[in-house]
Subunit: 287 residues, 2 copies
């Protein structure tokens, strides 16, 4: 089936969806993005993603080509047009096409931002086999730029990290900087020790995960203890369990780090419980 995608005000077949070679997203990675999950045809945590998008744009002095209300309608229309029950909606905004290449930002009055959205159907998204099996990860150096709190399309190194994981025969990689885990290639990282959830505190070192915020809120509401601080790979290897969160993976247990099995080497109860709570609560709040 040919998807219908959205580019700068038009709904069109994916095969016809293009941007200029002069688009700053293509030439300079001058763009930001969001990924929103769809469950039961409804959007998960849309408000959180819209708010983070506005922050990313603001941090980069980039104009939004649409209001957040209009953005919600575009998301819903794409769900409808592509008949998405479970899946993802990807959104990207770039600083547009100034008609030529220059390091200096173009005048936003003359160069409107580019906006692109497309869907990815993922039947079974909420019922991932990885939730039962758990993920195996390796640790790799975190050599990304210093503003990981801005969700930019500078994703080459996360892509390279995924390939390093693939080459090592595991599922994903966790980034390590100055001896401490920052986050996964496209997710936030957590360990659990003695019932306490430990995850890196917010700063420009990591993405401020929308799913992270929700899961920590649910954990605290369930009287679980949460400590927001950095941890080492050795501490993670000695933890009772570990997990990751992201908008598309929700909560997924991690059962092995750099070849060392955590606990019994099977998904832990905290991760399993948090996944259930997150999916239940998010479905209820979906729009």
């Amino acid at each position: 089936m040919t998807r219908t995608v959205y580019v700068n005000g038009s709904y069109l077949p994916e095969t016809e969806a293009t941007v200029s070679i002069f688009d700053r997203g293509f030439l300079m990675a001058d763009g930001v993005y969001e990924v929103t999950s769809v469950l039961g045809g409804k959007l998960i945590d849309f408000g959180g993603h819209a708010a983070r998008l506005e922050r990313s744009l603001s941090e980069l002095d980039m104009a939004s080509p649409v209001t957040m209300a209009a953005l919600l309608e575009i998301h819903r229309e794409l769900v409808r047009l592509n008949n998405i029950d479970e899946g993802l909606i990807y959104l990207q905004i770039t600083r547009g096409n100034p008609g030529d290449r220059d390091f200096a930002f173009p005048d936003p009055q003359k160069t409107p931002s580019t906006i692109v959205l497309f869907t990815q159907a993922k039947p079974g998204l909420a019922d991932s086999p990885a939730a039962k099996k758990g993920l195996r990860v390796i640790s790799i150096d975190d050599i990304r730029w210093g503003r990981r709190d801005i969700k930019t399309v500078q994703l080459l190194y996360p892509s390279m990290g995924k390939m390093m994981a693939k080459k090592a025969g595991v599922d994903d990689a966790w980034f390590v900087e100055d001896g401490k885990v920052t986050e996964g290639t496209s997710n936030n990282a957590y360990i659990v020790k003695g019932g306490k959830i430990i995850t890196r505190d917010l700063s420009s070192d990591i993405l401020h995960g929308i799913t992270r915020a929700a899961v920590l809120r649910f954990a605290r509401e369930a009287q679980m203890e949460v400590e927001e601080r950095a941890f080492t790979v050795a501490e993670a290897q000695g933890a009772d369990e570990a997990y990751i969160t992201s908008a598309s993976a929700f909560v997924l247990p991690v059962v092995e780090i750099d070849g060392v099995a955590l606990g019994c080497g099977t998904p832990g109860p905290v991760a399993t419980r948090l996944r259930e709570i997150y999916l239940d609560e998010s479905r209820k709040a979906a729009v």
Copy 2:
């Protein structure tokens, strides 16, 4: 005049030059580039740029869609079609359009790389007023990723640096990491003290400038002393002169760093002489 550009085997009007929204250059900054100057209708240092391009591709396990010989012919054809006497040719290769978004690299057998080239006419390129006036720069934190030796399109922070310079009312910014200057936003940085040229040694901290290599070779041939090591902003401010090199700027003197004038605050003799030598020798060797 509408430029003729090159996209994946076709010469076409710039207004019709597009890439898919699924191109990895657009979605993930998964691409590399080169900029080659044109003087008198001929290519400057083409061999150096082609060699660096091959290295960038190789470091990223990316396939080249063309041979370097074919690339030379495309460059020459674009110069001819656009009647470029002085200007630039921009070249970008990305990991192509796999038809959807995924962090993992696509199979290069199924997803050919994308190749894009376009010209920028710059009459007077070799006779820049900045060569007589000199540049004023500020220093800013270097928060870029750790593989600056690969010439990727992850240029958001260099763009932000240019904007910081603009806001500060100066011409450019020099990046500083761990107290030492790495390089300029789109150029290599040098100081001159007691007749000795000092510039940061090659590593993954900086781009391995093609113009840098040529200028250092010419300097050594002219019996100038060259020391390749990192230097601080304070050392630069106390230098006799400073300058930058890049493929499009050649050699340009720097006369002020963070508000402190260097020497007499006018272009220094070493930078001026090196610019002359570089332009003379490069014109002779142009293809």
